[in-house]
């Protein structure tokens, strides 16, 4: 059916790996930041809120450039991580995952925050009277009740990570087999005269993956709703 070259399969595999790793690594931070924004008042809250949402409004090229100068080999954070943990982002697929996570993060935090804000705090009080300490209340009441919002956040972040282009190509370039995702591969194809036909297969794949993510999220949200409301 689809006649894809090995290089195209590599781009698909790479895109999925980057999106999954980006979403999985962003999730704990997304829950933590969503919780801080929903529940706590602290100095610098507005600044944190702004910082989280910045990638949504900044040109992706700017986000990519900021990642490059801070997480690149010579950047302060990049140099630190390289020296002490051996983690390198620049021109690696891990850098693409970082860029995708940063771009998807605001989309993940928002539904998680809204879900946490919608929880009836009195249920948490009830759990406390039944002997649950703060951590247990969070794990057994707060988090399960915020599950539908968390699923929405995960799917949005995943979809964004799958399609991320501007920040990724600025930060880690467009290296086949390392940082060339589906989007970057399509871009490369259509830069060449007559490359439209070659891009068509990947375009189709991109559509299928996006639809699959949407359907999966619908299905998960419905299952969560059934668990809660017993219908």
């Amino acid at each position: 059916m689809l006649n894809l070259s090995p290089a195209e399969w590599t781009a698909i595999e790479l895109s999925l790996r980057i999106a999954i790793v980006a979403t999985a690594c962003a999730l704990p931070f997304g829950i933590a930041v969503g919780w801080l924004l929903a529940r706590k008042n602290f100095w610098g809250k507005t600044a944190l809120d702004g910082l989280v949402h910045l990638p949504l409004v900044l040109p992706p090229v700017v986000t990519g450039y900021l990642l490059l100068i801070s997480f690149g080999r010579k950047g302060p954070i990049g140099a630190f991580l390289d020296e002490y943990f051996g983690i390198v982002f620049s021109f690696r697929w891990t850098g693409a995952a970082l860029a995708s996570a940063v771009m998807g993060f605001p989309l993940m935090v928002r539904p998680i925050r809204l879900a946490l804000e919608a929880i009836d705090r009195r249920l948490e009080d009830a759990a406390a009277t039944l002997g649950a300490n703060h951590l247990l209340v969070f794990l057994t009441i707060t988090l399960p009740l915020a599950l539908p919002g968390t699923i929405a956040g995960v799917v949005l972040c995943f979809a964004r990570a799958l399609g991320e282009f501007g920040a990724t190509i600025t930060f880690v370039s467009n290296i086949p087999g390392e940082t060339q995702t589906i989007s970057a591969a399509i871009y490369t194809f259509i830069q060449v005269p007559g490359g439209d036909a070659a891009a068509a297969g990947l375009v189709l794949i991109a559509i299928v993956l996006a639809l699959a993510a949407l359907i999966a999220s619908e299905w998960l949200a419905r299952r969560a709703a059934i668990r809660f409301h017993g219908e």
Binding site: A126, G131, L136, G230
Partner: protein, 230 residues
């Protein structure tokens, strides 16, 4: 012998709460019109609200003492609390709701205690349902069972019948009376309805605008009938 001793003060908006009473075994009614501070007092006993000054002791345990800096967190107080709106966990089945307190305190399952409470409250057929699928009366019975199964040293009931219609009220009251007589757990029962308290209370503390205005036996409820509280 007094079981619970409460002596608390707190400024709550316009209400200057200053409440002092002792409760013996049996069911102590905390009685008064709405806005008298009944729920606030119960929340302080449970540890959900911190008094400005004073102390709270249960048996020989100090739960709160402002001067000594003692404030036992709610999850360590082992005080069962039946809320006005039930507050069952919507994502858990009735069985899981009932089991929640035991799981949180990491006690081994106790099938006979579970069976006893389920039989007492007649909630056996509901065990696999979600709270959404229960009637108001069923929900409150499960809430009582959940509080009982944590093996509380004291049971707080805050207007447990207020959200129910007349039929459900009649349905639940006998269970609460049975609870008082069979389970042997001391109770603090909050209500503004004298008729309801007459069925359940063994002694009465009357609260008005944040102050205890009378304390004694159930005869205090009769005086209240004229005050349009009933």
């Amino acid at each position: 012998m007094s079981v619970l001793s409460v002596n608390v003060e707190k400024q709550l908006g316009a209400l200057d709460l200053s409440v002092r009473f002792e409760a013996a075994r049996g069911a102590t009614a905390l009685f008064g019109s709405s806005g008298a501070g009944k729920t606030s007092v119960v929340n302080m006993i449970a540890g959900l609200l911190t008094p400005d000054r004073g102390s709270i002791a249960l048996d020989d345990t100090v739960l709160f003492d402002a001067a000594a800096g003692i404030n036992v967190p709610p999850y360590q107080r082992r005080i069962g609390y039946v809320f006005q709106e039930g507050r069952l966990f919507p994502h858990l089945s009735v069985r899981q709701n009932l089991d929640y307190g035991r799981r949180m305190s990491r006690r081994a399952p106790d099938a006979s205690a579970f069976a006893r409470v389920v039989a007492l409250l007649e909630i056996g057929p509901l065990l696999d349902r979600r709270p959404r699928m229960l009637s108001g009366g069923e929900r409150q019975r499960v809430a009582v069972g959940r509080a009982l199964l944590m093996r509380p040293r004291l049971l707080l009931l805050d207007e447990p019948l207020a959200s129910l219609g007349v039929v459900h009220k009649r349905e639940i009251l006998p269970y609460l009376v049975r609870l008082r007589d069979d389970a042997g757990v001391p109770m603090v029962y909050v209500s503004h309805t004298a008729a309801e308290l007459r069925r359940i209370a063994t002694n009465v503390v009357r609260l008005d605008a944040g102050r205890v205005t009378a304390a004694g036996g159930v005869e205090l409820l009769d005086e209240a009938d004229g005050d349009a509280l009933g």
